[in-house]
């Protein structure tokens, strides 16, 4: 077996930076990852997105070699690294809690790994200088982490990954500990960094805005399994199943239960879905109709659309740039997102309408898209 595993770089892995084959991991009897397969292309920014506890960090730790897998194989840059030490895998990693070495200066933090690898001193200096300039850390090099702000700490943590000169970066919720404003800024910095470096990046988050804005592709995980792996746009517009549909989007997609008969959906409202882009041959039966709050039009704009209804406004949430209106269709709460300029009051009646092209339909039993 050892022979087989020690094979030369494989042609089938060309262009694939990280490849995960049939990876399983269990803590005792609890299976956390189950037969997971994933290929990350070279230079790709892949985001692992999912609710807390779905196994994102565990998967990332497996890739990094910090958590031995129960079963399966991991290839990085064409090498089988399933049993390699973390430092030998050609990865850099950034953690949510920064994990800076508190008693070392910023410079010490950046150079620790290189010193361990016995990189020559001038090479270390060169790499630190480069990382520091990329991340604007120059004025901080002599400080200790305690004397840095959250954003600065995270930049140092990224720098620590950067100096390792590796092909693959792993991020585990790097921005979660920062406040909203800083998070938005660092997000853009990260995006720029990726554009400049072109490395493969695997990024764990449970913040969908981060996922949507950063990712080339998003893998949505649930219970240790990947639910959908696609571009942000695809995931947003064509969620593969009910879980993804409900998970992505804030406010989330409105989901109306009902029956599909031919092209007619009977539920809290009756809708002719002609024009919907079916994935499979449509079958009649229990179905769920999903429509994003921002795809619902109101007032005059609604009148022109094929699917229409009237609803009473229950709660109005002004959010500045836009306003979220809570109504109800039948018993199902129904959210509508309006422009911030629109004025609606609680208790008023609202005409709403939407286009079949912008909705999603799911099989109620299998929960998958139809």
């Amino acid at each position: 077996m050892a022979q087989a595993l020690r094979a030369e770089p494989r042609p089938e892995l060309d262009g694939v930076s990280v490849s995960i084959r049939d990876l399983s991991l269990a803590y005792g009897a609890v299976e956390v990852l189950g037969d997971l397969n994933l290929d990350v292309n070279e230079g790709e920014f892949l985001v692992l997105l999912g609710a807390s506890g779905c196994g994102k960090s565990t998967l990332l730790n497996c890739i990094a070699g910090l958590q031995p897998a129960t079963k399966g194989q991991i290839f990085i840059s064409g090498q089988n690294v399933t049993w390699a030490e973390p430092s030998e895998r050609g990865i850099g990693m950034v953690f949510q809690s920064y994990a800076l070495y508190p008693q070392m200066t910023v410079e010490g933090n950046l150079s620790f790994g290189l010193k361990n690898a016995r990189v020559p001193r001038d090479e270390i200096a060169r790499r630190i200088a480069r990382a520091a300039s990329t991340l604007q850390l120059e004025p901080l090099l002599k400080r200790k982490p305690a004397a840095l702000s959250g954003g600065q700490r995270q930049r140092v943590a990224i720098g620590r990954a950067l100096v390792r000169d590796v092909d693959v970066f792993l991020f585990d919720e790097p921005l979660s500990n920062l406040d909203a404003k800083l998070r938005a800024e660092l997000r853009v910095e990260l995006k720029r960094l990726h554009q400049n470096l072109g490395n493969t990046m695997i990024y764990v988050t449970h913040d969908q805005i981060e996922a949507m804005t950063l990712a080339d592709r998003i893998a949505i995980m649930r219970g240790g399994k990947i639910q959908q792996l696609a571009t942000p746009d695809d995931i947003y517009r064509r969620p593969a199943n009910l879980y993804v549909a409900g998970f992505i989007g804030s406010p989330p997609m409105n989901l109306l239960p009902g029956r599909l008969e031919g092209n007619i959906f009977h539920g809290p409202l009756v809708a002719d879905v002609t024009g919907y882009d079916f994935t499979t041959r449509p079958r009649g039966g229990e179905a769920v109709l999903g429509i994003r709050p921002e795809h619902v039009r109101t007032g005059e704009a609604a009148a022109a659309l094929p699917i229409r209804a009237q609803a009473r406004v229950e709660v109005v949430e002004p959010m500045g740039a836009d306003t979220l209106v809570w109504t109800r269709l039948g018993d199902t709460p129904f959210r509508v997102r309006l422009d911030g300029e629109d004025r609606v009051r609680a208790d008023q009646m609202l005409s709403i309408g939407f286009d079949p092209a912008s909705l999603s339909l799911f099989d109620a039993a299998t929960e998958t898209r139809i």
């Binding site: 050892a2 020690r6 089988n80 690294v81 049993w83 390699a84 030490e85 030998e88 050609g90």
Partner: protein, 314 residues
């Protein structure tokens, strides 16, 4: 290319990416950790398990001055349990143990609460309460012997104040001698408990206090009904520390009372010691220590199982 075994045992060798290409060997996985933990493993196996087993085995022999594998069955145990001194020792340990545990916890908690009231000189008070912990039992014994000395100490003073009928001589009164042990034991040990409890109190979410103030709950009730139950883990730590000390109670007795008057303050550890060395009946001493060991296991195993079980279920 190194063979799989060497590659497994030296994970840091080889090229950056070609270090290890076969599955590692089980026993050699994590080897530096295992090597570093060797002292612990040896201690656990050789000293704690090995010595305990050695003792248990020899408790079935009639070893006298030197250990001998001359088995006599349960004879030592039969004799042990028919010895009044052993019974007294067990009784004393039970009484002392329960009182010391309860009082130390109660005093520790009370003092921690008092210290937690944003008082001035907190450091000073805390140091005063903690300092006896720095002293050895020999010292503690000598001091309390002196304070409780009927001719010079407390009794003498109180009598000197005009209460000539006053009599308090716990060191020579078989019924009160436990009190002397408790006074000295708690004097020495409650400080650490206080410090741990204080740390526990400080670790409690401020908001709980605020909530109870908004609810109009008096401070003492908050402590009793809300804070106290929240301190369960801290109490557990204290109970472990205190009871480990109680079971081993020996030095204090020797220094303070020598088990007297008569055999009124004998404890099991002293029985073990005296029989093993004073009376040169190792077998009997081993039987007594095996009983102590059994008692410890009887207390700890359910506790450990309970904790493990809880961890698994969460």
């Amino acid at each position: 290319m190194p063979g799989p075994l060497r590659a497994g045992s030296f994970p840091l060798t080889g090229g950056t990416l070609m270090a290890r290409s076969g599955p590692p060997i089980r026993l050699l996985q994590n080897w530096p950790a295992k090597l570093a933990a060797a002292p612990m493993i040896l201690t656990a196996l050789v000293v704690f398990i090995g010595c305990s087993l050695w003792t248990v085995v020899h408790s079935f022999t009639n070893s006298r001055l030197l250990p001998r594998l001359d088995f006599v069955g349960l004879a030592q145990y039969e004799r042990l349990w028919s010895t009044p001194r052993w019974q007294v020792s067990i009784e004393n340990l039970a009484i002392y143990g329960i009182c010391a545990l309860v009082l130390t916890l109660a005093i520790g908690f009370l003092l921690a609460v008092l210290l937690d009231q944003k008082i001035r000189f907190e450091d000073g008070f805390r140091t005063i309460i903690l300092f006896p912990y720095a002293l050895s039992f020999i010292v503690t014994g000598v001091v309390w012997q002196w304070i409780l000395n009927p001719d010079f100490g407390l009794q003498h003073i109180v009598r000197g104040m005009g209460f000539s009928g006053f009599s308090f001589d716990p060191l020579n009164d078989p019924n009160l001698v436990i009190l002397a042990l408790l006074a000295a034991g708690i004097w020495q040990g409650a400080g650490l408990t206080t410090v741990i409890m204080l740390a526990g109190l400080r670790g409690i979410d401020e908001d709980v206090w605020k909530a109870s103030r908004v609810d109009g709950i008096p401070a003492w009730k908050t402590y009793l009904f809300i804070i106290l139950p929240m301190m369960k883990p801290v109490f557990a730590t204290c109970v472990v520390l205190i009871s480990a000390g109680i079971i081993k109670l020996y030095d204090l007795v020797v220094a303070l009372t020598r088990g007297g008057p008569g055999i009124a303050s004998e404890v099991p550890a002293k029985y073990v010691y005296d029989y093993m060395f004073g009376n040169q009946n190792l077998g009997q001493g081993f039987a007594a220590s095996t009983m102590m060991l059994a008692a410890v296991l009887a207390i700890i195993i359910p506790f450990a199982l309970f904790r493990m079980g809880r961890k698994r279920h969460v």
